[in-house]
């Protein structure tokens, strides 16, 4: 008995003009909002709590429980902020969801806001997805016109305004407290916790921050019920989730399935690893999660099982790399990413990611020493658990797991004095690398001076 796909969020993604209100309402669109408005707000919170929905933004914190942490109303404002910053390498589910069916998110925002007593909600979308921002602005506009947002929604007496806010390029703004600082018009740097956003979030007011997919799952729970949701997934990892397959697979893309499906099952659906090659390593939850190999093909992809196997479910960003791939090159590039995106607030991460990047680059290019491997592990050890936010910890994941799994490959770079892999073999197309060409020209550009680069 194998697991099959369970399209819920992705149900309308292939519909004609799927992004419009008209299409959304041909399905179940905004039905759950009407149901919710007929309930007591506390019952909506209870339903989401009982469903077992856990945050889909990486950490897996129970969504309803988070909502219930808000203090008793004191007459002042409370906020919902949707984290639509999707930037964790490998993660590519929220952006296509908002491109194809932005109303799914808008309806979730309306229901959640009603449940937590919020009258002004924000969707913080990364600034590097122009058309997604257009679609969100348009969906909100349509929802206002149809009375799903605005004053006295469907005669319920509930008012809600929604602002869609574009970021400006910074991975760290996905961290929820950095996101709040950014939304307040500041540099996006994490805040000390506690106080948690539930107590002092946006403008120091009680705030719920949730991922796009978490909020988009809410309408289905209200519409079809807690038992329906719990009939999918496992006891502790209830429901469905979007699994994003990328890299060396025959049919990369989005596969929505109950939590607990395995990579073996997903690869089967996706046509397997690229023809003529074997699976070498993969990330179960993005670049901040320890690497898995073919040994882990049958690990159920739920929070508990992936954790027990030594990694994290994260964002279900399954980046697949076959035997043509140099693991040192892969890990070095991620390390460069973390060094670039480190916000600089705390020393272990700011300095540590810089040194990790330098040492890895040296090893990748055949100029490393055996001691470098120990230094790498030592630096990781000094970051892990000592960094101010989870970015620092995440930066170490693929390095420590990569050395544990592929130490001999690191050593081969050192003893051989060069990378033993041909980058052409892992690319999707054939080409002649620049360093193997005779006619390399000097460049003549004018500096653009990207400020934060």
């Amino acid at each position: 008995m194998s697991t099959t796909l369970s399209p819920v969020l992705s149900d309308q993604w292939d519909a004609e003009r799927s992004w419009t209100l008209a299409t959304y309402e041909q399905g179940r669109g905004y039905r759950a909002l009407r149901t919710a408005l007929g309930m007591a707000p506390a019952d909506v919170v209870t339903a989401v709590k009982d469903s077992g929905l856990r945050g889909r933004g990486g950490a897996g914190f129970p969504t309803g429980l988070k909502w219930s942490f808000l203090p008793q109303p004191d007459g002042g404002p409370r906020y919902l902020v949707v984290n639509a910053d999707e930037s964790e390498p490998g993660t590519c589910k929220d952006i296509p969801l908002m491109m194809a069916t932005p109303h799914l998110l808008v309806e979730g925002v309306a229901i959640t806001s009603f449940a937590i007593g919020c009258t002004h909600a924000f969707i913080y979308v990364r600034g590097e997805v122009l058309h997604v921002y257009r679609r969100l602005l348009r969906a909100v506009e349509e929802a206002y016109a149809a009375g799903h947002l605005g004053k006295n929604i469907h005669g319920s007496g509930f008012d809600l305004d929604v602002t869609v806010h574009a970021g400006a390029g910074a991975y760290i703004c996905g961290e929820e407290t950095a996101l709040l600082d950014s939304l307040e018009g500041r540099r996006g740097q994490p805040r000390l916790k506690p106080p948690f956003p539930a107590v002092a979030g946006l403008y120091a007011r009680p705030t719920v921050v949730n991922n796009v997919e978490s909020i988009a799952s809410v309408p289905s729970i209200i519409d079809r019920g807690v038992d329906w949701f719990r009939s999918m997934g496992t006891e502790k990892s209830a429901g469905f989730g979007i699994f994003s397959l990328s890299g060396h697979v025959e049919r990369p893309g989005q596969y929505e399935a109950p939590l607990g499906i395995t990579l073996r099952e997903l690869l089967d659906m996706a046509g397997g690893v690229r023809g003529g090659h074997e699976l070498k390593f993969w990330t179960p939850g993005g670049s901040s999660t320890p690497l898995f190999t073919a040994e882990h093909l049958d690990v159920p992809l739920d929070y508990e099982s992936v954790g027990a196997a030594g990694s994290m479910l994260g964002t279900r960003a399954l980046q697949i790399f076959d035997d043509s791939t140099c693991v040192v090159r892969a890990i070095t590039r991620w390390a460069e990413f973390y060094a670039h995106e480190s916000c600089g607030k705390c020393t272990p991460c700011r300095e540590g990611t810089y040194w990790l990047k330098q040492i890895l680059a040296r090893i990748e290019h055949g100029r490393g020493t055996m001691e470098d491997l120990d230094t790498l592990l030592d630096v990781c050890d000094n970051i892990l658990g000592r960094a101010f936010c989870a970015l620092g910890d995440g930066a170490t994941s693929t390095i420590t797991s990569g050395i544990a799994l592929f130490r001999e490959e690191f050593e081969a770079h050192i003893t051989g004095g060069a990378c033993p892999f041909d980058p052409v073999a892992s690319a999707k197309f054939d080409y002649t690398p620049r360093n193997r060409r005779a006619d390399v020209h000097a460049l003549s550009g004018v500096a653009a001076g990207t400020v934060g680069a």
Binding site: T4, L5, P7, S10, D11, D14, A15, E16, R17, W19, T20, A36, V44, D50, E88, P89, G90, T91, C92, P96, M99, G127, E128, L130, Y133, R134, L137, V164, G167, A168, A170, E184, G185, R186, G225, V226, D227, W228, S246, G247, H248, P252, Q254, Y255, P258, F337, P423, A427, K428, F429, Y431, P433, R434, V440, S444, V446, A447, A448, V451, A453
Partner: protein, 278 residues
């Protein structure tokens, strides 16, 4: 050829910008939240975050220019020098790099004669290496003014930049029916819609690959409780509506009724004439 004819912040330009700034500030309970939109707005006028633009933001929000600069320098989308008409970003994060992004970047760099974060002499193109843009299932990915160019090769990417430089309209694979200028894009990012949301596809192939497979195989999520099929909200009382009193539903692996729309192949909207109206 300079693409940025710089106008000082006075007269009609200032009036127009003050009106826009007031609109942006009205979206937030605390006006400082409008700083990111205002910086995008400045770029929509000047093609970069100009010193006058910084002073403008500071005046509007009651901040010092140092406070505004501190924010502007934190974010990669804000430019210190006049940007080209098109920002061409090649994803060179691990997955795209390995799938061919490194080769695409090298090819473009060679072809355009510029390196990372440099602009061609004609002011048309600023080339960048960019981080993961949440499109890994379309690797290798290139972004032009933050529109998606999926599944690129060195040849396809070179053709795109050549056409951009010669002034031809160029369509992204997922996005509006043609790429707009850096300034026009910046205005949208400041929160001023350009009426193009209905252009382009809803989804690309990789986005719907799982959805289509499910249709082919007849796989669906379990059916909801029968009463939930009713759209009559009055019919369900508060407790029931949350499904708390309902019985257990069919299990995951038990195929339920075919989904709405049956087994039709499902068009993603590709090929429908992109309508220009909003």
């Amino acid at each position: 050829m300079a693409t940025t004819a710089y106008e000082p912040y006075e007269g009609t330009k200032l009036e127009r910008l003050e009106r826009d700034a007031a609109q942006a500030m009205a979206r937030y309970p605390d006006t400082r939240s409008a700083l990111l939109p205002l910086l995008h707005l400045v770029q929509s006028e000047d093609g970069y975050v100009s010193p006058d633009g910084i002073a403008f933001c500071a005046r509007q929000l009651g901040l010092t220019t140092a406070e505004v600069s501190a924010v502007a320098t934190f974010y990669t989308q804000y430019k210190r020098h006049p940007n080209g008409e098109y920002t061409v970003g090649v994803c060179t994060n691990t997955l795209c790099a390995i799938m061919g992004g490194d080769a695409i970047f090298d090819e473009l760099s060679e072809h355009l004669g510029v390196g990372h974060d440099e602009t061609t002499e004609d002011g048309k193109i600023t080339l960048e290496r960019v981080e993961c843009n949440a499109a890994c299932d379309y690797a290798p990915v290139m972004m032009v003014n933050w529109e998606f160019f999926d599944n690129q090769t060195p040849d396809s990417a070179t053709q795109v930049v050549d056409r951009l430089r010669s002034g031809e309209p160029v369509a992204p694979t997922r996005g509006a029916s043609s790429v707009c200028s850096f300034k026009a894009m910046s205005r949208v990012l400041a929160g001023f819609p350009d009426g193009r949301a209905d252009e382009g596809v809803g989804a690309g192939e990789a986005t719907v690959v799982g959805r289509r497979l499910a249709r082919e195989k007849g796989w669906t999520a379990p059916a909801g409780p029968a009463s939930a099929e009713s759209t009559d909200t009055e019919a369900s009382s508060a407790g029931q509506a949350a499904g708390m009193t309902r019985g257990r539903d069919s299990s995951v692996d038990q195929p339920a009724a075919p989904p709405q729309g049956g087994t039709q192949g499902g068009d993603t909207g590709r090929g429908t004439d992109a309508s220009k109206e909003s």
